[in-house]
Symmetry: C2
Subunit: 237 residues, 2 copies
């Protein structure tokens, strides 16, 4: 059975790293101690080792172990053999570049189909989408492909907010997402901070600290979806 946990964000300014997400991750991974394989590829301003150490502390506090994929000679084999996979946030373009260069997309997908738990946050949640199209990140490198894992039938915009900087002429988030809707067909959801999507088999749940998520429709008939179970098959316009 497919098991994915897709968090909008790891941190918010006023709380310690992963404070909001830890109860959900702990519950998702279960009681049995697991060794999680961590993909730090989205990290740019800190080394893969530094990033892995930071995340390892979080998982240790939850009673699990964690190793970085960069410590293995053969990253494909590391994925084939891991107990659970966590893909961290950072720059989505860099993450997609390295996932495609190392040819990991298919390997990750076959493990997910076989029941391996997948956890992602921010860029790591974008990875589970059909395409790169709705990331907020800057295209600092050119990935070979914009294709993601396609494990969910819709696009996520993580860290979703339509707040903007007063007096600034740049596009608001909703203006950017509206442009997406003009050119692409795949449905789009704005996932606010401290929210996550959990997938168990063919069941979808919105969880977190009580925020709704925003379903964007190309006809402008957007919809706020409350926490709890939801069904993307019901999203037709």
């Amino acid at each position: 059975m497919k098991k994915l946990l897709l968090l909008s964000n790891s941190s918010i300014p006023s709380e310690s790293y992963f404070n909001w997400g830890k109860p959900f991750l702990k519950d998702f991974l279960g009681e049995e101690r697991k060794t999680v394989l961590f993909v730090p590829y989205a990290g740019v301003t800190m080394s893969f080792s530094e990033y892995t150490e930071t995340v390892k502390k979080v998982y240790n506090e939850m009673g699990h172990d964690l190793v970085g994929i960069h410590e293995f000679d053969d990253p494909q084999k590391a994925i084939e053999e891991c107990e659970a996979l966590a893909v961290g946030g950072g720059n989505t373009f860099r993450l997609f570049q390295l996932l495609h260069e190392n040819e990991l997309i298919e390997t990750i997908n076959s493990r997910i189909e076989a029941g391996m738990p997948y956890m992602g946050w921010s860029a790591g949640s974008n990875t589970a989408c059909p395409f790169l199209f709705t990331t907020n990140d800057m295209p600092i490198v050119q990935p070979k492909s914009f294709n993601g894992l396609g494990q969910i039938p819709f696009q996520l915009n993580v860290h979703y907010t339509n707040a903007s900087i007063p007096g600034h002429g740049g596009e608001t988030r909703d203006m950017r997402l509206t442009e997406y809707l003009v050119l692409q067909e795949t449905p789009l959801v704005g996932l606010r901070e401290c929210s996550l999507i959990e997938i168990q088999g063919d069941q979808y749940y919105l969880k977190g600290r009580g925020n709704t998520m925003k379903l964007f429709r190309s006809n402008g008939n957007h919809q706020e979806i409350p926490e709890g179970r939801f069904d993307p098959a019901e999203w037709a316009e």
Copy 2:
């Protein structure tokens, strides 16, 4: 002699469309009435015709005429024969996709080298850079290539500001640009709103409403560059 005018933005919230830039555009184009060829490819939420009509009004007010490239059967030929070229803002990924699909990069470059005046704003200024790498836009489509015209030896971040939304966990602009500096070598400048870069042959000028522009260096030794003439050859770290 190369002649380029690269504006950070067309509009600011409190003023009419192109109000701040018009005096600079007018001065750049000179007294003689010209017919400007307009590239509306970055426009997504309005049609190419609507976008062209809007921009045509601005140029008419300055005593020039303007036609949209989409009105020509052969866009390459339209560029080969135009008196001046204007590339409008919008989504940079969409713009790069259509410029590459229509194979216009080399044609535009050979006209610029031959002295045809080039005007760009926002996405249209990104086009003059070596690469797509430092746009703020969302990757709603995948362009075949991230290569730009390469008419300036540095990257621009247009609409530059480091203001951020209070309480939000997403990256600030400077965090995003710092990631760029880790992975790429091409120098980077943050061009604030109501600022532009003018190129006349091998001379560079920062003009606008008195703002400095910010030169980013990978060693963190960033520098504010005042309005007036500047020389990118002096930017070595």
